[in-house]
């Protein structure tokens, strides 16, 4: 089974293919296989699909996502992850205070809102995918859970590179969670590194000015990279941060400055690879 990407197709352009029928993202027009979306062409033996670049998040098991609670229902929460359907976080999939192996009681159901309310942000992992495509999430690890103070940046999911870990403590002084669904969470590095985000207690102490500046600069760098369609991972974000140091934080979003910074970042990335 060969799975090779062989180029990029634009909507309406013909895709060279042998089989009369194509997979997702294609249609037959006058006996020619044509792409219906703009994206990369993937061939699996004789099946040709076009995977779109601009699309909602299609989650797979094991993906790390950052989401916002939209509803509190019986025994589960509905989480917005910018996918086609709201994701589901079951009550049995969260770590309750008091130990992991406690059986969920009726009281737990009634006090669900005390743990996670509408509007709260969480980091979670995709446990499974329902038959209709909705994702089932879990926070059964100390590194996942309710997120505290910080900044959320919403970007396209296809810009996030798949890596071994999505939790980064950047050397510039802030921490970052690159959710596979395009939600990037920037937060001040917690002092006690063993205190994971799995707890439900949020620290509401004011964040220092230097940390704030780092986070704002990172946020603007992320927006600059996303505007120029650069793949996001810890190294690219860090290079962008370093290239932006000579400009003021608020100037980074000006188009000319954005272009300059992204060009420097891309140069550095090429040097590193080559």
């Amino acid at each position: 089974m060969t799975d090779t990407t062989s180029g990029v197709a634009m909507a309406g352009s013909s895709v060279p293919g042998v089989s009369p029928r194509g997979g997702h993202g294609t249609y037959v027009d006058d006996d020619k296989l044509t792409a219906s979306v703009a994206g990369e062409v993937q061939r699996v033996d004789k099946l040709i699909c076009v995977r779109p670049l601009q699309t909602r998040f299609n989650g797979e098991v094991g993906d790390v996502v950052v989401g916002r609670i939209t509803e509190v229902q019986q025994k589960r929460w509905k989480v917005e992850t910018k996918s086609r359907l709201d994701s589901v976080l079951l009550l049995s999939s969260v770590n309750l205070p008091g130990g992991e192996l406690r059986r969920r009681s009726a009281e737990d159901e009634l006090t669900m809102r005390e743990y996670l309310q509408e509007g709260d942000l969480i980091s979670a992992e995709v446990q499974s995918v329902f038959s209709d495509g909705a994702l089932s999430l879990h926070t059964r690890s100390l590194k996942y859970g309710k997120l505290g103070q910080g900044v959320l940046v919403q970007l396209s999911p296809s810009l996030i590179k798949r890596q071994k870990t999505h939790f980064h403590n950047l050397p510039c002084g802030a921490s970052m969670i690159l959710g596979n669904n395009g939600f990037v969470w920037l937060y001040p590095t917690p002092e006690q590194l063993d205190e994971g985000a799995g707890g439900f207690y949020t620290n509401l102490q004011p964040v220092g000015l230097s940390d704030r500046e780092v986070i704002s600069r990172l946020r603007n760098c992320l927006l600059a990279l996303a505007a120029h369609k650069v793949l996001l991972y810890d190294t690219s974000v860090l290079y962008c941060y370093e290239s932006s140091v000579q400009h003021q934080v608020k100037d980074i979003l000006k188009p000319e400055v954005m272009e300059e910074i992204v060009m420097l970042t891309q140069q550095k990335l090429l040097e590193q690879e080559g």
Partner: protein, 269 residues
């Protein structure tokens, strides 16, 4: 306005940031986002402008039509405002969802321009009591990321600046009535003097401080905002308070001081 959900912890972060004069995107409390103004974008209008303020985009078209002047002021023309919140901006505006916001915005615009100094209405008169120019100003919201009033007022000013009203020749016809002829030459037109057209500055109260040009997240953390329409000379034409919170008199005074010192910059095409 379009609503955005913010968690409690995010609100606290934003509040403390504004208190320390460092907002989430690095701006200070009195900085505007990057603004781009384009004029003459719609070809079948007499004047048009498109303004992008951060992620907020507004399109304004001005059409001049001949109509009957208002009975109370027979030697003046007038302006008609219509704001359309399109569903492109946010799904909340789908169907009739955007009507409420649209009427609120148009009513504010009427108040802002309801004075003798903003636009020289006498120059819009053709013949007293019978014919005058009516300027239909249509505003279309393309994208909504907070601070609609400021973007709309800048777009209206730019569109009015871009408006070309054809010159009119009056002649008497046989029955004694007046006949109006519009000149066919596209360059034979009258431009409006927009020097005194006011710009709106919205100040949002977040915590104990006020910010200029709030985006949707900062708006979600604020309880009240003050909208002030001011001309370049410093004359205030309209003030309005929106929101459910209350403002103390001292904070209102503080806000007007900020407003006087920092008005949006103008780019002429």
């Amino acid at each position: 306005m379009a609503t955005v959900h913010v968690s409690e912890a995010e609100k606290v972060y934003i509040l403390h940031g504004i208190r320390d004069d460092l907002r989430v995107d690095g701006r200070s409390c009195e900085d505007y986002r990057h603004m781009e103004i384009e004029t003459d974008v719609v070809s079948n209008t007499d004047g048009s402008a498109k303004v992008t303020l951060g992620d907020t985009a507004v399109l304004v078209g001005v059409k001049a039509d001949i109509g009957k002047p208002r009975p109370a002021v027979p030697n003046e023309g007038y302006l008609e405002f219509f704001v359309d919140c399109s569903a492109n901006a946010t799904p909340e505006f789908e169907g009739r969802g955007g009507d409420e916001l649209g009427t609120e915005l148009s009513n504010t615009l009427y108040k802002v321009f309801n004075n003798k100094h903003s636009v020289d209405l006498k120059s819009l008169c053709i013949s007293a009591g019978e014919h005058c120019w009516v300027l239909y100003v249509d505003v279309l919201l393309l994208q909504c990321d907070g601070n609609l009033y400021d973007a709309i007022s800048v777009a209206i000013k730019a569109a009015l600046f871009n408006t070309k009203i054809p010159k009119v020749h009056l002649s008497a016809d046989e029955e004694g009535g007046k006949e109006i002829e519009l000149s066919d030459d596209p360059y034979d037109c009258v431009r409006l003097d927009v020097e005194n057209v006011p710009c709106i500055v919205t100040l949002c109260k977040v915590g104990h401080r006020h910010v200029v040009d709030a985006n949707l997240q900062e708006k979600a953390c604020s309880v009240a905002s003050l909208i002030i329409a001011v001309t370049h000379k410093g004359t205030v034409t309209c003030t309005r308070k929106v929101g459910m919170g209350s403002l103390e008199p001292e904070s209102i005074f503080e806000m007007t001081q900020v407003n006087a010192s920092g008005r949006p910059f103008m780019l002429h095409s």
